[in-house]
């Protein structure tokens, strides 16, 4: 970024400040309504319980797999693994995201109406009831099928019903949030809608379309089959429906992190949002390209033509474009801000950033980790290269960078202002310091755990497997040494979870009362007006459905047409 632009923006900012001082003031102190805060916090409490229990399960797993520890009382490794995957992958993420999104809509589009809030509460209780049902079945060892629940391993029907309720509840909650945005649009005809609310609606739309696949799998295949209404199930169809949802799931985790990067971080560092239009464009591209890509999880499977797999590989790689847009926008914001503060030289602006502020530092670490995380993702989806790492622990190492570091650290960093904002407390200096220490512990632990997973995976070590010496095979002893390293890293991560939960408890009940800002960035004043087409969801839904039909119609038709004899259920755990 040239100095001239930074200077121009700086002067423009000053002008703008004089003009809109009054409106800025309103913006700074806009608080999420108390009743909306309650529904948001309810979601976040459930998320934190899931974090604790899922974290304990994670610790047990790395200990068992190190070969030095055995589970007591007949608890199974795969039971613990199911707890870990379901609670952290599905429950922690979905509940935290909804807590954040409800607060975000209330903050940027305005307080929810009683009806909209009621819809959010109904969604919350539906999801929570579903979570409880599935959890009980897992604890009773009736559902050790992992969070991907691949048939023909057959869990208890209550497990499937519980997951259905989680999905249906998430639809209800999404509706509650979207209704508030629609109301804003009706009341402010012709204006560009609040960016953060727009992004929430994008994420929920993507989630809704994506979950249709997994909902069909559960409602039309798994539930009737586990209830004994039908004898047999089409395995490949169930897997394909699952993965039509499974990859969009990772973008459902990621997009709220992007919301925080695009909108909250600029405000925290005192800068501006680089471009409203480009932010919206990148979200629309994510909506379009997140779903018709699931076959890249099935590259080594029989029954699907290579050409169709390749088409979805191309569609998968399209997310490179919005990812590049995002990276550029973020670093442009950082650089413009650094230069506005008087930074000199090519990288002098880096020094001007508020490194001591956990609200910036913690998500920033997440951004950095996304560079190796994204690069690994390209390897995974690379058609032939996938064979080297498919179902090895490399994949586990990969998503512990993307989801369990990039997304999770961004959520932690967000919790440091979101939770006190909602509970009417403040994020103190001491807690800020602890937050920074927490994130460093996390990154060190994850570097140890994830890199040893990546290396062991390249050497062929399988994922989702308990400790085994594989009949004394030499390679397995090499894997075992990396599993010790995973246990060390995993233990540090568990300490990280405890540190975070300590901060969370402080922010809920013990930190000094006061006002904590919900930071919302403003668009750079020299940015151009956002083209209205970006807000035309009807158009984007048509594009999305068209792409989905192109990517999936023939493969699914083919799978059904050539289906072999279906499978009966097995309970092999």
């Amino acid at each position: 970024m040239s100095q001239a632009i930074a200077d121009k923006q700086n002067t423009d900012t000053k002008k703008q400040n004089i003009v809109s001082k009054a409106s800025n003031k309103v913006n700074d102190f806009m608080k999420v309504d108390r009743k909306d805060a309650n529904v948001a916090m309810a979601h976040i409490y459930v998320a934190m319980i899931a974090l604790l229990l899922g974290g304990i399960a994670g610790l047990l797993q790395v200990l068992v797999r190190s070969g030095e520890f055995k589970l007591p009382w007949g608890i199974g490794y795969y039971q613990v693994l199911t707890v870990h995957g379901v609670l952290l992958g599905l429950i922690l993420t979905t509940f935290f995201i909804y807590g954040f999104q409800i607060a975000a809509v209330s903050r940027t589009s305005g307080t929810l109406t009683a009806k909209q809030r009621l819809i959010c509460w109904i969604g919350f209780w539906t999801m929570t009831a579903g979570t409880a049902m599935s959890s009980v079945m897992v604890l009773l060892n009736e559902a050790s099928v992992l969070y991907t629940f691949y048939a023909p391993l057959q869990a208890h029907w209550i497990f499937y019903l519980g997951l259905t309720l989680v999905v249906v509840g998430s639809w209800i909650g999404a509706l509650g949030q979207a209704l508030r945005w629609m109301q804003w649009r009706k009341e402010n005809k012709g204006q560009t809608s609040p960016l953060l609310s727009f992004m929430v609606v994008c994420n929920n739309l993507m989630w809704f379309v994506a979950t249709i696949g997994v909902a069909s799998e559960v409602l039309f295949q798994l539930l009737p089959w586990s209830l004994g209404l039908v004898d047999r199930i089409d395995i490949l169809l169930s897997r394909t429906l699952f993965w039509s949802f499974g990859h969009a799931l990772v973008y459902f985790w990621l997009l709220p992190a992007y919301m925080i990067w695009y909108i909250v971080i600029p405000k925290i560092i005192g800068g501006k949002i680089f471009s409203d239009a480009l932010s919206r464009l990148s979200f629309i591209l994510f909506v379009i390209f997140s779903i018709p890509v699931g076959l890249h999880h099935q590259l080594t499977e029989p029954g699907v033509d290579g050409s169709w797999k390749f088409l979805q590989v191309i569609l998968t790689m399209m997310v490179v474009i919005p990812s590049l847009l995002t990276a550029f926008s973020l670093f442009a914001t950082f650089e413009l801000r650094g230069r506005a503060l008087g930074a000199k030289g090519l990288f002098g602006w880096l020094r001007q950033l508020p490194w001591g502020d956990a609200r910036f530092f913690v998500p920033f670490l997440g951004m950095l980790v996304f560079i190796p995380g994204g690069a690994g993702g390209i390897v995974n989806a690379s058609y032939q290269m996938n064979q080297l790492i498919h179902n090895t622990i490399w994949v586990t190492g990969h998503f512990h960078l993307t989801v369990a570091t990039t997304v999770v650290l961004t959520f932690f960093g967000a919790a440091y202002w979101l939770v006190p904002h909602l509970t009417g407390r403040t994020f103190t200096k001491e807690l800020n310091k602890l937050g920074i220490i927490q994130s460093i512990v996390w990154v060190i632990g994850m570097t140890i755990m994830s890199s040893s997973m990546h290396v062991a995976g390249l050497l062929g070590a399988p994922r989702r497997s308990t400790f085994s010496d594989y009949g004394g095979a030499e390679i397995a002893s090499t894997w075992a040494s990396y599993q010790i390293a995973q246990a060390v890293g995993g233990t540090l991560l568990f300490i990280g979870i405890l540190l975070f939960l300590y901060i969370f408890v402080q922010l809920c009940w013990f930190a000094p009362k006061g006002q904590e800002e919900f930071p919302i960035g403003e668009v750079a004043p020299n940015a151009e007006k956002t083209p209205a087409i970006l807000e035309n969801f009807k158009l984007w839904i048509v594009v999305l459905v068209a792409l989905l039909l192109i990517a999936y119609s023939y493969p699914i038709f083919d799978i059904i047409q050539n289906a072999p004899l279906g499978s009966k259920g097995y309970k092999l755990w």
Binding site: Y150, M317, F328, G566, W573
Partner: protein, 160 residues
């Protein structure tokens, strides 16, 4: 929509790399025939033992085909039949495998032989085994309590 000059360079470079990447992957796939295992034959998984070639699992020399050996494997919870596959170094081998019950994996550690085995489908992959050694075969898809005990061995031997 306005794009900053540097952002244009950045996107041209990024999208350009992406196109080159997809072209290389595409040429590898459709010109050199390097596809991941995508066989489409189906089978009655409850009668695998009666159906050729799975009624005779093991390594067989074949004539008049594009490959020299067929390695036929039947997977079921929690073992592979046969427990050892032995092939001569340099041979072109077609791995043919299926599952009798749940979904299993067939991953040969340290190689790119890696297939999902699903009941009702026959998985196939052709490759040349060009390095002598013992390669551990593991089930890399969770299949139940004995999943981590499910393994066999691929021995690539020098016939001299």
């Amino acid at each position: 929509m306005h794009l900053h000059k540097y952002e244009k360079y950045w996107l041209v470079f990024g999208v350009g790399s992406l196109i080159v990447f997809l072209l290389i992957t595409g040429i590898m796939a459709f010109h050199n025939g390097s596809h991941p295992p995508s066989a489409k034959n189906t089978i009655n998984h409850e009668k695998v033992d009666e159906i050729a070639p799975f009624n005779n699992p093991g390594v067989h020399k074949v004539e008049g085909k594009d490959w020299d050996y067929e390695a036929v494997v039947v997977a079921s919870a929690f073992y592979y039949d046969p427990p050892v596959l032995e092939v001569p170094v340099g041979a072109k081998v077609k791995f043919i495998a299926t599952s009798k019950d749940v979904v299993h994996g067939f991953g040969v550690a340290g190689t790119n032989i890696n297939m999902m085995l699903e009941p009702g489908y026959v998985s196939e992959y052709v490759t040349t085994v060009n390095k002598v050694g013992e390669y551990l075969i593991v089930c890399n898809e969770y299949c139940g309590a004995g999943h981590a005990q499910m393994h066999s061995m691929l021995k690539v031997v020098d016939p001299k």
